[in-house]
Amino acid sequence: MKGHNIGEFEELLMLMTGVLQREAYGVNIQREIKSKLDRDVSLSAIHITLYRLEDKGYISSYLGEATSVRGGRKKRIFELTQAGWAILQAVQEKRTKLWQLIPGFNS
């Protein structure tokens, strides 16, 4: 689908949302990216990108519980929508297709 591409960072965040499920909120995503991929990402970048993905309709969000470690503030928990799953799979498929086209890869 033309015009419905997602960037690398967006894909990363969507995958993380999928991985973390009910624990998929801003600072936790940051933490997991650090521990799993050893990559430093700023909190604001994560938030902004998540809001953008929400605008595009690939993820949705709801407010979760508040904890004391958060100073009594609620979490905004993100989850993938159907469209989000679809585009992640489409990206995956396209990539596999391209990998297969590399000569000598599949032999």
Binding site: G26, V27, S42, L43, S44, I48, G71, R73, R76
Partner: protein, 866 residues
């Protein structure tokens, strides 16, 4: 439970710009991150990290999610008012644009003229010792020129004053001339200044290369400006190189930075003045001007000028003796009345042709033109803002019903007005910047536009713009905002009663326009008069060759060689410089004397210029006494001399050799028509010619130049061929007049254009607000013309007032201007009324489109509504 030791104030800041619905989650994440960091890396790090992470949220992609919450902007940037302004502007594009265009054009003009005036008043102010340097200016105390100011003082004056008057610290004599430089194959004529070494100590011209103290020691040294160095040598460090001239070779001893554009004193090339006066001049050598430098604070003492005059008198005794012999009526009165003119004033004090100068009046005239045009466009701005406010009266009503306070409304109107003014202001800066080169050509000045260093420009524009915006916004913000909503809805249509204000303001605009129109018409008439006036001599097809006086070949040799090379149909004559004459005083009897100009001419000079002889005869080669004892005079001098029969009489020359009048020439104008014809006489004198005049036979204009060049080459001259048409010289006499005429034309055009723009907008709005009335009239059978008149009869009446009000101003100023010409046209009676008619025509044309548009609309469209 964690301690809440995270910095809370920065979260409060985040709350200000962050959309509400996102804030909680973001803050929570930040705090969670803080605590984690605190556990792992310590509190300080965590706090720092907290600050940065929070500040990183200040980014557009978050800010612009503030779709439902404007609080932040409402208090600071007045975004809703801006939106409102934008919508209003788009709805009324034409009127908004008229406002902006008119104001920005006139502001740009004001800016440019401001630059000009500022430049005019900045002349010679860059010298560090400027307030201690004075130019000596003498006021003539005797004779027919009594009261005239002259800066030319005797050559030894400067040095004598320096030696004998206490308080004079330094002096320099100064004189300019031309030098033929032979460094290239093609010889170049360069401007040169002769002066003393005090020049370098007194004036702040920067020396780039070379030593100040020794630069002018040797009369064979020359100081050149950087531009001259680059021109001849391609580099600026050229000390020790040679400038070859027709006279001798000069050794470059120093290179000077180019003089700023606002310097009266030229520093193109500087040579020690002693090189042209090797044995020092006498007190009767009147060729130089002199600057003196006082000791700091000395000038305030009253007797400074007195001492100078005293010393000058003391050294002029022998001149006085001569005068006593020459003029019997002279009894030895003081001949000096010297004043010290401060350096900063010499630009506006036109006393010496050696220095660049200009009348201060020109600056004042320019400034008044700018002020008048600014007034026109400000009136426009105010009028259109008023009319626009009328149309937003409903908005006021509804807002008031909703509960908007009058302060808020007032602020809104004021804000709109000022925003519009700001837009115009920035456009004016752009326009001014764009038109600066053209303006430089028009005014003949090298002006620069420097926003950064010249903060006053920005400040000036800012002030004017805010003032105009404020005045224009004052009415709606004070008056409309106060109106009771009930009154607004009951009357519905615009509030009346400000008709006088509007009409009065338009009258002022048109008065200015008619003034411009009529004045520039009179100026055109006068220039036409000058162009078409029979001068009494034929300047067309006369070529003038300048022959420098310091060349080796005698001018008569040049003339005779050229005569043999050119064929007989060319008439050639040698003479002293023309049309610039020498002057002298002829004593008539014991009481009276007359100032007369005189020229050295050749035998056939009268024929070359086609001047008619009234009485007597021309010089004749065959009569040998003509070369030494004969003179031709003009009618004016004949009249002054009041002989019954001038031919055959002796010219009264005091005790000098007698000259017998052999002919009288009809009067002809060789000076600008601003001056009356001067008494003039002409004598033959071989050694003092400096110019050749050549009359080209008719029909030979184009192929003459190569012919002349060929002849010049064949004659083997050692100087460059330097010629121009005499006609151009005569046109150049009126150079500044033509320049002023153009400036006046452009001002007239801009003034009328802006006023018409305003009228276009105003009548357009008026016509639109009266569409119903017009529709009803049309259905009742009114024709287009009568409706047109209905809408415009006011304009006609206003123009009538404008003509009446402006006519005294036009007559007064133009009479004053015409009086500066000895030969002038009159202000024709019809100029002002016809200018008024023109104004009416232009005004009608301007309003034609909006009015016709309203008239032509089908009346049912308006009557159906409601």
């Amino acid at each position: 439970m964690k301690a809440n030791n995270y910095p809370k104030w920065i979260l409060r800041m985040l709350e200000k710009w962050c959309p509400d619905y996102l804030f909680d989650a973001i803050a929570g994440d930040l705090i969670e991150q803080f605590h984690e960091n605190e556990d792992n890396k310590g509190t300080t790090y965590a706090k720092l990290y907290f600050y940065f992470s929070t500040l990183k949220f200040f980014r557009p992609s978050l800010l612009f999610r503030n779709k439902f919450r404007w609080g932040f902007f409402r208090n600071t940037l007045l975004i809703p008012n801006l939106t409102l302004f934008y919508r209003k502007f788009m709805r009324n594009k034409v009127y908004g644009s008229i406002n902006i265009i008119g104001l920005s054009i006139s502001l740009a003009l004001v800016l440019l003229i401001f630059l000009f005036v500022k430049h005019e008043f900045s002349y010679n102010r860059f010298h560090e010792k400027g307030d201690m340097i004075f130019q000596l200016v003498n006021t003539t105390t005797l004779g027919p020129n009594k009261g005239e100011k002259s800066a030319i003082v005797p050559y030894p004056m400067g040095e004598t004053l320096y030696n004998e008057v206490s308080g004079i610290e330094n002096f320099c004599r100064y004189k300019t001339g031309l030098l033929i430089v032979k460094n290239w194959k093609e010889e170049q004529t360069e401007r040169v200044s002769y002066t003393d070494k005090g020049f370098l100590e007194m004036f702040s011209f920067r020396i780039i290369h070379g030593d100040k103290a020794s630069a002018m020691k040797d009369p064979n040294n020359i100081i050149i400006s950087e531009s001259v160095a680059l021109k001849y040598f391609g580099e600026s460090d050229v000390i020790g190189k040679t400038i070859q001239t027709n006279d001798k070779d000069f050794l470059v001893s120093a290179v000077m930075a180019n003089a700023p554009t606002n310097s009266s004193i030229d520093n193109n090339m500087i040579i020690n003045i002693e090189s042209i006066y090797p044995d020092g001049g006498n007190w009767d050598n009147f060729e130089v001007i002199t600057f003196v430098q006082s000791e700091k604070g000395k000038f305030t003492s009253n007797d400074f000028e007195f001492n100078i005059n005293h010393v000058a008198e003391k050294h002029s005794e022998f001149i006085k003796e001569q005068l006593k012999n020459y003029f019997p009526e002279y009894k030895g009165e003081p001949i000096w009345d010297i004043n010290c003119i401060p350096l900063k004033d010499i630009y506006h004090n036109q006393v010496s042709s050696f220095l660049k100068s200009n009348k201060a009046e020109y600056s004042y005239i320019m400034a008044s033109i700018a002020a008048l045009i600014l007034l026109i466009s400000c009136i426009n701005y105010v009028l259109l803002a008023l009319a626009g406010a009328e149309s937003s009266i409903k908005e006021v009503g509804i807002k008031k019903v909703i509960g908007v306070s009058k302060q808020q409304l007032g602020r809104q109107f004021m804000g709109e007005s000022i925003i519009l003014a700001w837009i115009s202001g920035s456009m004016a800066l752009l326009l001014a910047w764009y038109f600066l080169p053209q303006f430089c050509v028009l005014t003949g000045r090298k002006l620069e536009f420097d926003f950064v260093s010249d903060f006053s420009i920005i400040l000036g524009v800012f002030t004017i713009v805010n003032l105009v915006g404020f005045i224009a916004g004052a009415y709606p913000s004070l008056f409309l905002a106060r109106m009771a909503p009930l009154k607004i809805f009951r009357h519905k249509s615009a509030h009346r009663g400000k008709g006088y204000l509007t009409r009065g303001l338009i009258t002022i605009q048109f008065t200015i326009c008619i003034f411009f129109l009529a004045s520039s018409w009179v100026m055109h008439n006068q220039m036409n008069f000058i162009r078409t006036k029979d001068l009494g001599l034929k300047t067309e097809k006369v070529i003038q060759l300048d022959i420098p006086n310091n060349i080796k070949t005698n001018i008569n040799t040049i003339a005779s060689r050229l005569r043999t090379e050119l064929n007989d149909s060319f008439q050639l004559s040698a003479m002293s410089s023309f049309p610039w004459s020498n002057a002298t005083v002829l004593p008539l009897d014991n009481e009276r004397s007359v100032q007369a100009n005189w020229f050295y001419i050749d035998y056939n000079w009268v024929d070359v210029l086609g001047i008619e002889l009234k009485e007597g005869r021309n010089f004749d080669v065959a009569v040998t006494s003509d070369a030494t004892h004969a003179v031709i005079i003009n009618e004016k001098l004949a009249m002054e001399l009041s002989f019954d029969q001038p031919v055959g009489e002796l010219l009264p020359m005091g005790n000098k050799d007698s000259l017998r009048i052999i002919g009288v020439l009809k009067d002809f104008h060789y000076q600008s028509l601003s001056q009356p014809i001067a008494p003039t006489y002409f004598v033959i004198s071989n050694p003092y010619y400096s110019e050749l005049l050549i009359r080209v036979p008719s029909g030979k204009n184009e192929d003459f130049v190569p012919l002349l060049e060929k002849a010049w080459k064949k004659a083997e001259m050692d100087i460059p061929l330097n010629f121009h048409y005499l006609n151009d010289v005569f046109t150049e006499m009126y150079g500044s007049e033509y320049r002023w005429q153009r400036i006046m034309d452009i001002s007239t055009f801009i003034g009328i254009a802006i006023a018409c723009l305003g009228l276009f907008g105003l009548i357009g709005l008026e016509a639109r607000s009266r569409t119903r009335e017009i529709a009803i009239r049309k259905t009742l059978g009114a024709n287009t013309l009568s409706i047109f008149w209905l809408l415009n009869n006011q304009v006609a009446r206003i123009l009538l007032y404008a003509v009446i009000i402006s006519s005294p101003f036009v007559i007064w100023t133009m009479q004053k201007w015409l009086q500066s010409y000895a030969y002038r046209t009159t202000i024709y009676w019809y100029v002002i009324p016809v200018a008024g008619l023109w104004g009416l025509l232009i005004a009608f044309l301007a309003v034609l489109y909006p009015v016709i548009k309203v008239i032509k609309t089908n009346p049912s469209r308006y009557l159906k509504a409601e």
